[in-house]
């Protein structure tokens, strides 16, 4: 495998250790032997990619680790990444029948990591490609070309399936490094970027062409893609992190230019997805370039990426952080800050804990790391030193909230030197408008057929966050596969 893509050698995330380290052989064997080997297993049904979970676990128990890895990768080319980043508590592990008997469920994620980790970068994937190819198309190239936009897990999973069946996928990525959020957005205590990148490069190595630094719609037009390729897959993820839209949020320069346009974002046509809450796409588009935040304010996605890939992010002078949002990105951001030594990290959520889209087990882990969770609270405006719009952040005015709306007269000061906004990301309405017939819904998500992932344009398919509004890597993989199967069917016709 090439070392085509380089990450900085000094990155903040490297200070984080694995919360769930690699199992030793005896740990893995022992855990695998506890598996009941259910028939028609609920864990498999809970997996979006339908990995044969009892099948791969049985193979670990017998010491057939390579066979186990194959079983996993047959269903999910990102089986290694998913092993480490999947919220197994709400997927396979959540479905484990042992819990129903009051026993601890099988640690499926850790077993999956154990089975796959030794094989990342080996020829196992290539062997699979050759085997599938022999039976699917006698190993002959179909001569069909598919363009995939965005090099995240959805596109790579889609391309991987297509290569196996003799097609020629080409992935376009506007950034320099592939992998999408799986590289830049995974909480470092789950997986470091170099492991994600290694897995990504491995998945790509089975004959997928990748063109980085190419932005579709800018460097290459959507129209030329449609003309040149037999099918298109859109896997571009979500857009910018949404803004709070409250006074003091943007720098003076930005404020002068566009601040006045920003209205109250509470209520209205907002959508709450798994990953958090988003301001509607319409507004996000209207905000356009205005996403430059003032000092002390970070978008959660940007901040996590800084921690993952950068060495310059620092928390000097930050005693108290307010993280705004109730999704898993908010929880991740808060946990990471707490692990980095922030004494006082607070998640401020406008609804109740029971209503939050973030996972209960993630919030529990955040609390264990010292994060405070404050429900039914809203930021009203930001306070800066000397009331200077470009002055240091010193806090915010918050209000109690009922049904996500501020209760008049409850405004009070909340001291904070840093504010992290995790209220969701914008959709991709603007991008997809370049493809005739492709539609997005009110929240900016690409509308596709449930069974095939096909958009309103028969040649164009989509999957991943840009379709589901922000879910897990495993969902992206499943949606990439879904589209690939449909594309293959279409190209065979």
């Amino acid at each position: 495998m090439s070392d085509r893509f380089q990450l900085r050698s000094r990155r903040i995330e490297l200070a984080f250790t694995d919360l769930k380290p690699l199992y030793s052989r005896s740990e893995a064997t022992s855990e695998a032997q506890r598996c009941l080997y259910c028939y028609d297993a609920p864990c498999t049904k809970a997996c979006p990619t339908r990995i044969d979970v009892p099948g791969f676990i049985k193979k670990i128990a017998t010491g057939n680790i390579k066979g186990s890895a194959r079983t996993i990768l047959n269903s999910n080319v990102f089986g290694y990444s998913c092993a480490r980043v999947c919220p197994v508590e709400v997927l396979c592990v959540g479905a484990c029948v042992l819990s129903l008997e009051g026993k601890p469920p099988i640690a499926i994620g850790r077993l999956q990591r154990y089975a796959t980790e030794p094989f990342v970068g080996t020829k196992v994937l290539m062997e699979r490609r050759e085997n599938v190819g022999r039976s699917a198309n006698k190993g002959k190239p179909s001569g069909r070309k598919i363009a995939l936009v965005g090099a995240g897990p959805a596109s790579i999973a889609c391309a991987s399936y297509l290569t196996e069946r003799g097609h020629k996928p080409v992935i376009f990525e506007k950034r320099d490094v592939p992998g999408g959020l799986n590289v830049s957005g995974i909480a470092p205590y789950k997986m470091h970027a170099h492991d994600s990148l290694k897995d990504t490069e491995w998945a790509l190595s089975s004959g997928i062409e990748l063109r980085t630094g190419v932005e579709i719609g800018k460097d290459v037009s959507c129209g030329s893609l449609l003309e040149e390729y037999d099918a298109i897959f859109i896997g571009i993820g979500l857009g910018e992190d949404s803004l709070l839209g409250i006074p003091g949020e943007r720098s003076r320069f930005e404020g002068k230019r566009g601040g006045d346009e920003v209205e109250d974002k509470r209520g209205g046509d907002e959508l709450e997805g798994k990953r958090g809450e988003r301001v509607s796409a319409k507004r996000a588009v209207k905000q356009g370039e205005a996403a430059t935040r003032g000092p002390g304010i970070f978008s959660a996605i940007d901040m996590i990426e800084k921690i993952k890939l950068d060495s310059t992010f620092n928390l000097d002078g930050v005693e108290t952080v307010a993280v705004i949002g109730g999704g898993n990105t908010a929880i991740d951001a808060a946990r990471e800050l707490a692990h980095l030594g922030c004494r006082n990290v607070n998640i401020l959520y406008r609804r109740t804990e029971a209503e939050m889209p973030g996972y209960a087990h993630e919030l529990q882990a955040a609390r264990a790391a010292g994060v405070h969770f404050i429900e039914k609270i809203l930021p009203i405006r930001l306070l800066r030193v000397g009331d200077n719009p470009d002055g240091k952040l010193k806090g915010l005015i918050v209000a109690s909230a009922e049904k996500a709306r501020p209760v008049p007269g409850t405004e009070r000061e909340f001291a904070a030197q840093m504010l992290v906004v995790a209220i969701g990301q914008a959709g991709q309405a603007e991008f997809i408008s370049g493809f005739p017939g492709v539609k997005s819904d009110s929240s900016g998500c690409v509308v596709v057929d449930e069974k095939t992932g096909r958009t309103g344009n028969t040649k164009v398919f989509a999957g991943g966050d840009c379709v589901n509004g922000g879910k897990e890597v495993v969902n992206a993989v499943a949606e990439g596969k879904r589209a690939a199967i449909a594309i293959d069917e279409m190209l065979k016709e």
Binding site: L36, C38, Y39
Partner: protein, 443 residues
């Protein structure tokens, strides 16, 4: 509290738990420590002309996380001088006069047997055990199981020993034979005062797949060994019961073979053993297991309102019979308790593929979408019954709980054996409306 003491052909012991001849009874120091902890008796590691043992002697069979459910050994008899063993027997017997100390012996010629039986008696042994069972090494030299496999030789050597013995003579048999009652009957006919069984089962416990050598391996060679441990218990129980049912065997039986717990011991006693002997479980966990053995058996006897071990001896023997005596009208069918079922559906696949296809999944369970919506419907509406044991309501989706088609169920038990939840699948007796009828009646 029940009286645990026994009288085995005149050998008295405060409880029926004896250490079997083997590594745990290799030295006086070991036997003394065992007696201090409460063991009722010990059969000394077999004394014979000293031999040289090989290095690497044991191989284990593991099941899942449980180690050594079976053990195979290629160790021979005692490699210590005869004098040392006899001196230590004397010492132990002086310190623990109430315990049974039995000298296990293995020799070739009539003269040697005569001499050694006398010397064992002089040393203070309460009895001698003739090792006609060892299935490895010694048998190649015409001893051990080579004797046990020839009833005529069993008879001859036993009678040699009886010519001189004044203490009880126990004969230890090998299971590596078609009909265990034949050597046993020969021994009793020749005057044996008790029968001991089973010695180990000839075995190869595994193959080293990296080197293609059997386990345990001595360098690049291996040899079949003697199999013991929990896995041989069923073989031993059968053989003990076969002797207990045989009218020719009118002497006490000492049962051995995979006994690890008081339950195992109680089963051996119920099938006709007066004493039980234990070796592999001690090799695994040490002499300390005696505490639970004594305590557990005592509590069990109390529960059953039995006053002594003697009351338990042979209690299950009369229920063991020929297949032809079984009642063909008797019928059980499986019953799945939906309150404790966890929905693994292992019973379903076992019955379908390896049974009689009598377990059904809920209607629509094969169709995933239908099943999911059924689960959702069911979860929201039906009040769930609570488990009788825990009082907790089951959370298992009803769509995953199989049921038994009683018209197809043959009552084989398989589902109840594979079910991971204790007590979830039970076999319910169906009342017969006709007179019992056995296959033999129909002949």
């Amino acid at each position: 509290m029940a009286n645990l003491s026994i009288d085995f052909a005149g050998i008295k012991s405060p409880n029926p738990f004896w250490l079997a001849s083997g590594p745990p009874t290799n030295t006086g120091e070991q036997v003394q420590r065992a007696f201090e902890m409460g063991w009722g008796g010990a059969v000394w590691k077999t004394i014979g002309r000293p031999i040289v043992n090989v290095s690497s002697r044991l191989g284990g069979l593991d099941e899942a996380d449980r180690r050594m459910v079976g053990l195979s050994n290629i160790e021979l008899i005692s490699d210590r001088p005869i004098e040392t063993n006899l001196a230590e027997i004397s010492e132990v017997k002086k310190l623990f006069s109430d315990r049974a100390v039995i000298a296990s012996l293995m020799f070739d010629s009539r003269e040697e047997w005569h001499e050694m039986v006398k010397r064992a008696e002089e040393a203070g042994a309460d009895g001698v055990e003739l090792n006609f069972g060892c299935p490895h090494g010694m048998c190649e030299r015409g001893m051990g199981s080579a004797v046990g496999q020839e009833p005529a030789v069993v008879r001859k050597i036993t009678s040699w020993v009886k010519e001189v013995a004044t203490i009880p003579v126990l004969v230890k048999l090998t299971p590596n034979i078609t009909d265990i009652t034949e050597p046993a009957a020969a021994a009793v006919d020749a005057g044996a005062d008790g029968i001991v069984l089973i010695n180990t089962v000839r075995s190869i416990i595994g193959v080293d797949l990296a080197r293609f050598v059997p386990i345990p391996s001595v360098g690049y060679r291996g040899t079949p060994g003697g199999y013991s441990g929990p896995a041989v218990k069923p073989i031993a129980l059968h053989m003990v019961s076969a002797l207990a049912r045989d009218p020719r065997i009118d002497v006490p039986i000492s049962g051995i073979g995979g006994i690890s717990t008081w339950r195992d011991a109680a089963e051996f006693i119920a099938l006709g053993s007066t004493s039980v002997q234990i070796c592999t479980a001690v090799m695994h966990h040490g002499f300390r297991i005696i505490d639970d053995l004594i305590d557990g058996l005592s509590n069990y006897l109390d529960e059953k309102e039995m006053h002594s071990v003697a009351e338990l001896v042979g209690r299950a023997v009369k229920a063991v019979g020929e297949w032809g005596q079984l009642d063909l009208t008797y019928k059980v069918t499986a019953d799945i308790d939906p309150r404790t079922c966890i929905g693994c559906e292992i019973c379903y696949v076992a019955c379908r593929d390896g049974g009689h296809n009598a377990i059904r999944l809920p209607a629509g369970a094969e169709d995933e979408e239908e099943r999911r919506s059924a689960e959702a419907r069911e979860a929201s509406t039906r009040p769930r019954p609570a488990s009788a044991e825990t009082g907790r309501a089951s959370l298992t989706p009803v769509s995953r709980i199989p049921s038994v088609d009683a018209t197809q169920c043959v009552g084989c038990n398989l589902c109840s054996l594979v079910c991971p939840v204790a007590g979830c699948i039970t076999m319910k007796e169906q009342r017969a409306k006709v007179e019992p009828a056995s296959p033999n009646c129909r002949r």
